[in-house]
């Protein structure tokens, strides 16, 4: 675990330093105003791009969080699968069945489409 952390932080640190050296802490103060305008193909924007962004796929993300949590039970389950045999297999059936139910319902409600 320590080596993972060491590798990750080494790569992280060196890249962070590289980017800061290149761009500086105050990236917002570098360059002339026309250079810093957002690229819109020669067009312009009146407002900041940062806004209350309407992502439209909210239900999908919430289904995803619940789903993800279910998966957290699956990891230890996979480890003892062979040991437990049929019990674990039946359990998997119940589990996947429940998940499919959730997905089917979300799909019927159109959670995966948003336009």
């Amino acid at each position: 675990m320590l080596s993972v952390l060491a590798s990750a932080s080494a790569a992280f640190g060196s890249v962070l330093v590289a980017v800061f050296l290149a761009r500086g802490w105050r990236a917002g103060k570098k360059g002339l105003w026309p250079f810093r305008a957002p690229f819109l193909g020669g067009g312009i924007s009146e407002t900041h791009a940062w806004s209350r962004f309407h992502a439209r796929y909210y239900p999908m993300t919430l289904v995803f969080v619940a789903f993800e949590m279910e998966m957290m039970f699956m990891y230890p389950w996979a480890v003892v699968f062979v040991e437990e045999g049929m019990t674990a297999f039946a359990d998997m059936g119940v589990f996947l069945g429940l998940l499919s139910l959730g997905i089917l319902y979300a799909w019927r409600e159109g959670a995966f489409r948003w336009q």
Partner: protein
């Protein structure tokens, strides 16, 4: 695997680094203007607690916390940006109420925690190194705690359904809006009053009065 019963100096140092980072980022969550930063600062706090759990020998618990919280905070960020005014903190802001009471309550809880931590008596039964914690968890799930585990699964499916019911469009438009799922009603009925192609004005009255600081005066 780290020996919990006799940790090395390195483990002690790492613990205090992670702990300090967790508390510091937890505090910064409520002190930053940008909602995206706030969310990911909370994530940093979680990641540090995950790292501490790993130090404690929770080989699965720690990583699971890292994984789960990353996902949750990513989703959180979407909502933070969408449902907070001024999500990027372009104008510095303070949006609090009853700050004194809240701070006092926080300090009291902290003090109570310290009392419990320092004077409380806990059994001294440390985790033996080399214990197969992941396999044990799996066996526990399949054995004695099967019911708990299954009911958690059911609760989560209920959560899925509940959150879809609450957040999907159908709850507003109902069946009448369309016959294929919650396919959005066509845009025109809603925006029908505007001829397409009109360049909008950006005056504040284009919205619903959300602009400005009308919210602050409600209390």
């Amino acid at each position: 695997m780290i020996d919990v019963s006799s940790p090395s100096v390195f483990v002690h140092v790492s613990f205090w680094v992670f702990a300090a980072a967790a508390v510091l980022s937890g505090w910064r969550v409520f002190r930053t203007d940008s909602m995206v930063r706030a969310t990911f600062l909370l994530l940093v706090s979680f990641l540090n607690v995950g790292a501490i759990l790993l130090l404690l020998g929770g080989a699965y618990l720690g990583v699971a916390l890292l994984f789960m919280m990353t996902v949750e905070m990513t989703v959180m960020a979407i909502f933070m940006v969408a449902f907070m005014m001024n999500p990027a903190g372009l104008n510095p802001m303070v949006m609090v109420h009853q700050p004194r009471l809240a701070a006092a309550a926080g300090w009291v809880l902290f003090g109570g925690g310290i009392v419990v931590a320092v004077w409380g008596r806990f059994p001294d039964r440390p985790l033996e190194p080399g214990r197969p914690v992941i396999v044990e968890l799996g066996t526990e799930l399949m054995g004695r705690s099967m019911l708990i585990f299954e009911s958690a699964a059911v609760a989560l499916v209920a959560t899925m359904i509940g959150s879809v019911v609450l957040s999907s469009r159908r709850s507003r438009y109902g069946e009448a809006a369309g016959d294929d799922g919650s396919l959005p009603p066509p845009l025109d009925p809603v925006l029908g009053t505007y001829p397409t192609g009109v360049v909008p004005e950006t005056s504040t009255d284009g919205g619903d009065g959300h602009g400005g600081d009308g919210h602050g005066g409600m209390h």
